[in-house]
């Protein structure tokens, strides 16, 4: 089945050229992750969270630093990305989208359809298998993107604010669903979000990033048992953690908006 994975980011830096000179987006980012934990990555907008995720995904190269990836078991790609939106292909039906990762691995058409349908049945999307994404709501499209990541048999999922564009109620439901799916099929998840509560609800650890150039300000373990319920973070000590993270981010957020301190 799914192989396990362990990676270490060592002193990752990234910069890009702009008309006004080189801009450093990441600076000295180091952390490690292994097994089947969920890491919440929070930071102010523009802090290079997405860049870091793309570097982890192998879609971008860091300017300096390296990533050491160790994995047991075989497989071609080690990770699957889930984006905020536009991640599902508009020209593929739901089932073909969900089966896309398997298709790229060379799994036969019948087998991958079965696998995709099994998963869609589990999350209640089976009736929509032959629909195109434009026929679905934004929230349903995100569920398709997440289904595709889970079905693809990769040990590591990289999620870039997957619920960022959803309304609050939909987001709660999908957070709950993600926790349920993950409990049944635990993978290593790096979950980028700007929502502190979301990072705490989902994460075993929360990494707090600074504004540009992004670096890791603090790593905060979340002492909540699994499986977790939506109400789990309501504990007083967890609430305190939330405000602690907020204070770490507050200055950056203010600077971003030019609100005086």
């Amino acid at each position: 089945m799914t192989s396990t994975v362990r990676f270490r980011c060592i002193d990752i830096a990234h910069g890009y050229d702009s008309p006004s000179g080189e801009i450093a987006s990441l600076d000295g980012v180091s952390f490690e992750a292994e097994g089947n934990e969920i890491i919440g990555l929070v930071g102010p907008s523009g802090c290079g969270k997405t860049t870091l995720l793309k570097i982890l995904a192998g879609l971008m190269n860091p300017t300096s630093g390296r990533i050491v990836l160790e994995r047991e078991g075989g497989g071609t790609s080690a990770n699957a990305l889930v984006f905020q939106d536009h991640g599902v292909f508009p020209w593929l039906t739901v089932v073909d989208n969900v089966a896309f990762g398997l298709e790229m691995k060379g799994v036969r058409a019948r087998r991958r359809r079965e696998r995709a349908c099994d998963f869609l049945r589990r999350v209640g999307l089976l009736d929509f298998r032959d629909r195109y994404p434009y026929e679905l709501s934004v929230g349903m499209r995100q569920r398709v993107g997440i289904a595709r990541a889970f079905v693809s048999d990769v040990p590591m999922l990289l999620m870039d604010e997957p619920f960022g564009s959803l309304d609050a109620q939909t987001r709660l439901l999908l957070q709950e669903e993600l926790l349920t799916i993950w409990e049944q099929d635990r993978k290593l998840v790096v979950y980028v979000t700007h929502d502190i509560e979301e990072a705490i609800l989902l994460g075993d650890r929360v990494l707090v990033m600074s504004g540009r150039p992004g670096r890791i300000l603090e790593e905060i373990p979340i002492p909540l048992a699994r499986p977790r319920a939506l109400a789990a973070p309501d504990r007083p000590d967890i609430k305190e953690l939330k405000w602690h993270i907020w204070h770490l981010l507050e200055d950056e957020a203010r600077r971003h908006l030019s609100i005086p301190e």
Partner: protein, 258 residues
């Protein structure tokens, strides 16, 4: 399961609207000629044009001229649109090729294709092949430019997702580039069809004894005005059929489009 979409429901309506509008115009024309305000020499009534169409059909000229034009359009479109499509995909995917070919395309695209005919005839003679080349060029450029634009406007995110799931170059082409650019390609096909009809008729007027363009010219020479109109009606029908054909293809091959 209900699969009705707004587009499908609206489609027959717009077709009927077309028929009703055209029939109304024809009827008005007929009445204006019969009552006298429109001189029938310049504006032969639709009944006379229809009579002329029947006569052309019976005499076999319709098949001869119409068939010739259809073959030229078909051959030119097939060769020109497919090569234009391939060139567009290649230029869309290769920065290097684009840099080299862009100025050439920019220089050749605006040239009226009919203006190249004499030159092509010097190379290939006055037979069918020179006509085919010029007609194919008329399809080539719109197809190239639309395909290129279609490939270039594919959001990066789709390439990132596909690569992230392990897509190689071939898989990217088959699962991302081709489907994502298809709407633009079909738009290009529509423009190419129009362009091909224009150039085919022009070529036939200039240098052919068969084809609808030739029929127009021959009818002018002997002042058979109603035949002239009949040929124009046939060309218009061709244009309508072409538009419907492309619309059908859009519904058939791009079902994921809203």
């Amino acid at each position: 399961m209900t699969t009705d979409t707004v587009g499908e429901a609206r489609w027959p309506d717009s077709r009927w609207t077309t028929v009703v509008v055209l029939a109304g115009l024809a009827a008005t024309w007929e009445i204006l000629v019969r009552l006298g305000p429109l001189p029938s020499f310049y504006f032969p009534p639709p009944s006379a044009v229809a009579g002329s169409l029947v006569e052309l059909t019976r005499g076999g000229e319709l098949l001869e001229h119409g068939g010739t034009t259809l073959v030229r359009i078909g051959a030119g479109l097939l060769v020109g649109a497919s090569t234009g499509f391939l060139a567009g995909v290649a230029m869309g995917r290769s920065e290097r090729l684009r840099v080299v070919a862009d100025p050439v395309v920019g220089a050749l695209y605006p040239l009226p294709k009919i203006a190249i005919l004499p030159l092509v005839m010097i190379f290939l003679g006055i037979g069918e092949s020179s006509k085919h080349v010029v007609i194919a060029l008329a399809a080539f450029f719109p197809m190239l430019i639309s395909t290129l634009a279609g490939v270039r406007q594919i959001p990066d995110i789709y390439f990132e997702v596909a690569e992230n799931y392990g897509a190689d170059r071939r898989a990217l082409l088959r699962r991302v580039v081709l489907p994502a650019s298809l709407p633009a390609v079909l738009g290009g096909l529509r423009i190419a069809l129009n362009s091909v009809i224009h150039v085919t008729i022009a070529v036939e007027i200039v240098s052919a004894v068969r084809g609808l363009g030739a029929l127009i010219w021959l009818s002018w020479e002997v002042l058979r005005v109603e035949r002239l109109y009949a040929a124009l009606v046939l060309i218009a029908l061709l244009g309508i059929a072409a538009t419907w054909g492309v619309e059908w293809m859009s519904r058939r091959f791009v079902p994921w489009r809203t």
